[in-house]
Amino acid sequence: MATKHSRAAARLMISPAVLLLLGWMIVPLAMTLYFSFLRYNLLMPGMEEWTGLTNYEFFVTDPAFFTALLNTLLLVGGVLLITVIGGTLLALLLDQPMFGQGIVRILVIAPFFVMPTVSALVWKNMFLNPVNGLFAHIAGFMGLPAYDFLGQAPLASIIGIVAWQWLPFATLILLTAFQSLDQEQLEAAEMDGASALSRFWYIMLPHLARAITVVILIQTIFLLSIFAEILVTTNGGPGVASTNLTYLIYVQSLLQFDVGGGSAGGVIAIILANIVAIFLMRMIGKNLEA
């Protein structure tokens, strides 16, 4: 394979992908960075002027920013907690011998394929709705007062919805990891006198460590950008109670037309995502060498 001819051809074949991604990365990124230093509002065209770090100052000192940052962390952390623990247990269960394993797998994996707007809307109207929602019916049946999930606990409700969407992802990947575990290792551990619990703790969990890390990192990347679920269910409200960073920037730039402020927020979001990305890239990079 390694002839001079093929090397030249290889370079040619790879360049469209590289150039396109380079453009996709650099052009909007440079524009965001540039706008973030401008006073730039679409309602006041022609008034753009250089303002240095003012946009950052306004964005960061806005009390909504702190709430949004906290909400972002709670959303990411909450969903991760539910999906990783739930996913591990579920994968462990699905790895056991049972009847109709394939069908259960299909049932469990299904929510992942439901588009975000559908799952948000369905949960909002059919389950969480305090009048006609299924949960309200059940509460009524048991003689309890109906609970207004999205009004009273908007963030927790969104965490629930998002966790429902991502639990299958974690389960599927952890199940795959379980299945790649060498059965002889477990049998050896059993011969060595390890109980079921210590087999899980000392053999299975270390084997899963890598898959769990991958699940956490990949989910984090996606969870930092949760948008449609919030847009459809609460619009970030009540107030800013369920606004995350992505949604805050969307409101600032596209609803309030403050391009400069929104861009400053965008730069902050990029920095946050990069911190996660560095860890993820290390993980996958290691795998590439193996």
């Binding site: 394979m1 390694a2 002839t3 001079k4």
Partner: protein
């Protein structure tokens, strides 16, 4: 026909020179084995002949024609790979037919050759199976079948037996040797296993770090190794090397003696090497003794037949003087 001449062939990957300039002639119809430890460049050399790698400089001549810049498909060679490299999506029949299809051979003739090859290789019942449904030995046969139908100038084998179990390996070794006797086509065979080299080759090329250490028939290499490396590499169990006074007294830096050229006695013998048996392996036909000798270290000794020796016994070793190999400080053999 299948005469292959390498003229000052050199190969480097970037800064690293894998094969320094090297000359070699492979006669038509010869069975040549490249042997050496892993990383010695033997596979690279084969791939240069095949055209799968470009030579950095030098020339390769096949059948009197300069083939240096020819593409693999134009060189008229067939190759059997270590992994067999069968096409997994094609049936056995289609696998064997592939090179003929590429050459645009009429279908009737293809059928004829496939049938002949399948018969010779015991594959007739498996022609419609996919490679995934075959055993290792059968896959190996398909790979060979795919090579012979083209009637190439020469066959190239890249460690073809290393994925088979021991029993099958002995069988296939015989089959390939028989194939060579029938076809009388040049074969170039790469292996790290000196037993394969000794049993199959007309001519062995011993390689180390891209250098040719020695070229010769199996028994030439066994009798007259040119240096310590070849002496240690050819023959099993390995040749024993002794340094120091004993060597100096025979005018050498190191002397070498093969395990089968040592007389072992349980009764004291004047001037013999005294040692204690560590492990003795009783095979019936032979007995191998690992003897710890004072001032020398471990010596391997082979005794023909069933010998009554056991771990812990004190034994007296006498190397057969006329079978001694003498080496100088540079590792080269000293010829008398």
């Amino acid at each position: 026909m299948g005469r292959i001449v390498l003229n000052k062939v050199r190969k480097s990957f970037g800064e690293v020179e894998v094969i320094p300039p090297l000359d070699l002639e492979i006669e038509d119809g010869e069975f040549v084995v490249f042997v050496g430890p892993s990383g010695c460049g033997k596979s690279t050399l084969l791939r240069l002949i095949a055209g799968l790698e470009d030579v950095s400089s030098g020339a390769i001549e096949i059948d009197g024609v300069n083939a240096t810049s020819k593409r693999p498909s134009e060189r008229g060679l067939a190759m059997v790979f270590q992994s067999y490299a069968l096409y997994p999506h094609m049936s056995v029949k289609k696998n064997i037919a592939f090179p003929m299809k590429m050459a645009g051979m009429p279908v009737a003739e293809q059928e004829e050759r496939i049938a002949a090859a399948a018969k010779a290789l015991n594959l007739t019942d498996y022609l419609h199976r996919k490679p995934g449904q075959l055993s290792g030995g059968q896959r190996q046969r398909v790979a060979i079948g795919r090579a012979i139908v083209r009637e190439p100038q020469a066959f190239l084998f890249d460690e073809p037996l290393s994925n088979l179990d021991a029993a099958l390996r002995v069988n296939m070794r015989l089959e390939i040797s028989e194939l060579h006797q029938t076809l009388k086509t040049t074969m170039v065979y790469v292996t790290h296993d000196q037993v394969e080299a000794m049993t199959m080759a007309d001519k062995i090329v011993v390689l180390r770090a891209g250098h040719i250490e020695q070229v010769g028939s199996p028994l030439e290499l066994y009798r007259n190794p040119r240096n310590k490396f070849v002496a240690g590499f050819i023959g099993s169990p390995k040749m024993n090397f002794i340094e120091g006074e004993r060597a100096a007294s025979r005018g050498a830096h190191t002397i070498g003696i093969r395990p089968e050229h040592i007389d072992l006695s349980v009764d004291p013998v004047e001037g013999a090497i005294v040692g204690k048996i560590g492990v003795s392996e009783h095979l019936g036909s032979d007995t191998f003794a690992h003897v710890h000798c004072e001032g020398i270290g471990l010596m391997n000794v082979r005794v023909s037949g069933e010998a009554d020796i056991h771990a812990g016994d004190t034994v007296y070793l006498q190397p057969q003087e006329h079978n001694l190999h003498r080496f100088g400080e540079d590792g080269l053999a000293i010829t008398l």
